[in-house]
């Protein structure tokens, strides 16, 4: 089960994080929340729970007045245009384990939200403190962002502050500036129908479409995820092993050769070529395999050289 409000608050106290707690009737929107704590010192936050086409999830936590344009965000994350949208309601419960209208950075404490990426409005840093829900809509806590950072660090997350209104160009030579914030793995849900996000429902998660070109600030880099770190199937490990192991390497070559020979020795070819069958097969092998074998032989050589190189730099000179 997900963390409760009490468990979270106890944890914050353990971490010696100062916060002010305000209880109020359940609220589902920033406007409603403002009625109860809006007059206090501190900035409210609007929190969006988003999802991209590859089942990766994001929380965007921003000042209510910050304009968040999902199209721009999608490009800045390197997801192309329209690559990101509001996550479906079910995901709220399954991944963040919070009720509707309660998206909050604190939800990342849950194991189920381990791979969710968090984008924080750089504007939070300009306020003495900011309000977030501590996993429940009937309470709001205010804390300074550096204490929020402390909490995030304690759960192994690096805080990423972003100028959410920036709209930098993204192109061939201008890489998407927020690409490092894309989670490296997809989160697979039990059965999530591909529904359009619940953007019409909760006002708390409203988005506006304006974007203003402002100076880009590159977000603090979280562990970069490339397509290669994402796909590390077991076979990748086996591959590099076969390039370091002569037996496996030769086996692979023989396997490929066998495949071709077996494919070519069939009745129609026997009839067609007869005495020339052997020549024809050996030509086939050269033509189909030549290039590929040269390539994998080069990889084999490079791997062996690298092993030697590594051993060489760690080599201890002979003791006299």
């Amino acid at each position: 089960m997900g963390w409760t409000k009490e468990q979270l608050l106890a944890r914050l106290q353990e971490l010696q994080i100062d916060f002010s707690k305000y209880e109020h009737p359940v609220v589902l929107t920033v406007e409603a929340q403002a009625k109860y704590v809006g007059h206090m010192k501190g900035a409210l936050s609007k929190n969006l729970f988003l999802k991209d086409k590859k089942q990766r999830y994001y929380i965007v936590s921003a000042l209510p007045e910050t304009k968040v344009d999902l199209k721009v965000l999608s490009q800045r994350l390197g997801l192309g245009k329209g690559g990101i949208r509001m996550a479906p309601e079910e995901a709220l419960g399954e991944i963040l384990q919070v009720p509707l209208g309660c998206v909050t950075p604190f939800a990342l404490v849950n194991e189920s939200a381990r791979k969710v990426s968090l984008l924080l409005d750089q504007g939070f840093k300009n306020h003495e403190c900011c309000f977030f829900h501590p996993l429940s809509n009937d309470t709001s806590i205010a804390l300074h962002v550096r204490d929020l950072d402390k909490f995030l660090n304690s759960i192994g997350k690096t805080p990423a502050y972003v100028d959410l209104e920036a709209n930098p160009a993204v192109g061939k030579d201008q890489p998407p500036d927020l690409a490092t914030l894309v989670p490296s793995d997809a989160t697979i849900l039990a059965d999530t129908p591909e529904k359009h996000g619940s953007s019409q429902g909760s006002e708390k998660n409203h988005i506006s479409v304006n974007n203003q070109p402002t100076v880009v600030t590159v977000a603090k880099a979280v562990k970069p995820s490339t397509a290669y770190t994402k796909e590390k199937p077991p076979s990748a490990v086996n591959l590099s092993i076969s390039y370091a192991d002569p037996e496996k390497f030769v086996e692979e070559i023989l396997e490929k050769t066998r495949t071709i020979v077996l494919a070519e020795v069939k009745e129609e070819n026997i009839e067609k070529h007869r005495e020339q069958l052997a020549t024809m097969i050996s030509n086939s092998i050269s033509k189909q395999l030549g290039l590929e074998l040269k390539n994998i032989a080069t990889i084999f050589k490079n791997t062996a050289y690298t092993e030697g190189f590594k051993a060489g730099i760690h080599h201890q000179p002979k003791r006299l």
Binding site: V170, K172, D173, V218, I299, N302, F309
Partner: protein, 400 residues
Amino acid sequence: MENQNKEEEEQIVTPWEVTAEKGGKIDYDKLIDKFGCQRLDQSLVDRVARLTARPPHVFLRRGVFFAHRDFNDVLDAYERGEKFYLYTGRGPSSEALHLGHLVPFMFTKYLQDAFKVPLVIQLTDDEKCMWKNLTVEESQRLARENAKDIIACGFDVSRTFIFSDFDYVGGSFYKNMVKIAKCVTYNKVVGIFGFSGEDHIGKVSFPPVQAAPSFPSSFPHLFSGKDSLRCLIPCAIDQDPYFRMTRDVAPRIGYHKPALIESSFFPPFRFHDGETGKMSASDPNSAIYVTDSAKDIKNKVNRYAFSGGQDSIENHRKYGANLEVDIPIKYLGFFLEDDAELEHIRTEYGAGRMLTGEVKKRLIEVLTELVERHRRARAAVTDEMVDAFMAVRPLPNMFS
């Protein structure tokens, strides 16, 4: 770089901008005239085949690499037993490499294997840090990531030195940079690259960095005592201005002029208005990336590759396809090895007997195999292997 007034009607080809004349394609003949380089004709291609005792690379056969400077001299020297070294590079500005990025490396690998010569690869992380406003760390990180894809193209570690500017500039390399810089006036560099008073001094002083690898004394750990070793630079033709400057300087500091072998541009997937120059990667659907899955490739080719086929089957059978604008045919020209098969497809498609779908299907096969092979090779590249390629070390067998 801004070109104003009458230049606007002409095509623009510089290291930072490539656009064709209004609504047209790049005119490569005009480019050769304007730049003053030479056409790489069939006799040269045949000569290469003879000298290397192997069929010439598909990019030579299809005229992808179509221009050169002094390639004949390099071949003359080679015939006399004088070797040369190869120099190419990449500006690591993005993690995502597409097929267009691989083209110069695929060709350089062929040159390395065919002539059995060493190769230096420069990663201009400093350039991208300056021009694309990346942090130093980010550009260094991208350089290492790109190095992995480059290594995956199949270079021989015992003959290849990869270096990043941030790591390597200094020592003899820097001495050459200063020698080069002393020979190029500010006015000249403004004239060649179009710098303005607003450009920061980093940009203005960058050209010697890209010029220095053309001289063997920049690599004392490799070419010590071989000051007369020639250099051959495979590159895209938009890099010509850098090397015109370098060739101008070379005799004044006592070195051979570097020779160039230049390629045309990789066509973008689809032609938008005004986008008739280089492939653009701001739209991931306009390019095939080395990280694309087989499914991605199939989708992209089927949906986005601009077709020269007619709009209906009847018209197509009647008039045939327009091979001039058809993208799948162009791509097959780059990547389909078999000349006979390509010729067959061109004939049948041009006559309307073959449909766009079939051509695209063949292209998908070819590209998928290519990308798959690259991915396998890339998976075998470890950080230690990158370290090995980038280590400043002697290469004892680099000419054998």
